[in-house]
Symmetry: C2
Subunit: 167 residues, 2 copies
């Protein structure tokens, strides 16, 4: 059985279970008017890290938690269609992008698949600097609303489970 | 107090609380070798929907759960640096992209901020078709590994809490 089938079985078991783990929310507009941009990393259980309730925030996740063009697309929609006003960027320790070099990953992809892909993967040497870079990009991005200090950056420690703010 | 401060207070309360809500996982490689691509929507509590455990899967989220270039960047890293092999695309009912027209949103952004942005936001008229389109793009994407049927698409019903697979 593949991983998807395993998770579909868990999904059905959850639906059939006695606990009411599903709180219906009847609006797509996030209650806290906040969008959180973080990494895809499997160790960031964001609802627990931030004590989120169903319907509280938009959650954007990509490799690194970087302020990419696609994150901008999502944030513009989040703010102008769905009413969010604050943005929280959370990158983390032990990220797969730490010290990653584009040429190394592209070489690995070519060796495995025969395809040469041209991507800037977004590797970085210092996670605090990477957070500052993403926050800076969002603060100067045309089309986003709100004061600069409504966009804040953090690093999540995946070993300790703690957050620290990047000034 | 802003929304970020509210969540930082919840984070601190969680750390101080009696329950052990944090399970340390010492590898960035997802245990189930699966990446899940879904929407940023505030009503998708993915850990509960799929019965996820800490460290199980990569989670990618953007507006719509679309297979964008940035999702491709993340998936290439997920597969070739961190060992995932299956991909699950989950879009959902009542999405902010449903029936969205680029010109309407761009007009709203310009009216609010004075900036004219040029984005394809990814609006769609039928969510099943949108899932098929994203799954199709990933199945034909150069650089991804694994058989075509290791990439599967679903729609999550945000009212009922149920998933259905798109064939």
């Amino acid at each position: 059985m593949g991983a998807v089938d395993e998770l579909l079985a868990r999904h059905r078991a959850g639906l059939a279970g006695p606990s009411s783990r599903f709180d219906a929310v009847d609006t797509p507009r996030p209650r806290l008017k906040l969008a959180v941009l973080t990494c895809m990393d499997a160790r960031i259980k964001l609802f627990d890290v931030l004590g989120l309730r169903h319907g509280d925030v938009h959650i954007l996740r990509n490799a690194g938690g970087l302020a990419t063009d696609d994150a901008m697309r999502s944030l513009l929609l989040s703010q102008h269609s769905l009413g969010t006003r604050e943005i929280m960027v959370i990158q983390h320790t032990d990220c797969g992008l730490h010290r990653l070099r584009d040429a190394d990953l592209a070489g690995r992809i070519e060796a495995t698949t025969g395809h040469r892909v041209a991507f800037e993967f977004g590797g970085f040497d210092d996670v605090d600097d990477s957070v500052r870079s993403s926050v800076g990009r969002l603060r100067s991005a045309p089309g986003l609303v709100g004061p600069r200090d409504a966009i804040r950056g953090f690093v999540y420690d995946v070993s300790a489970g703690t957050l620290h703010e990047v000034e």
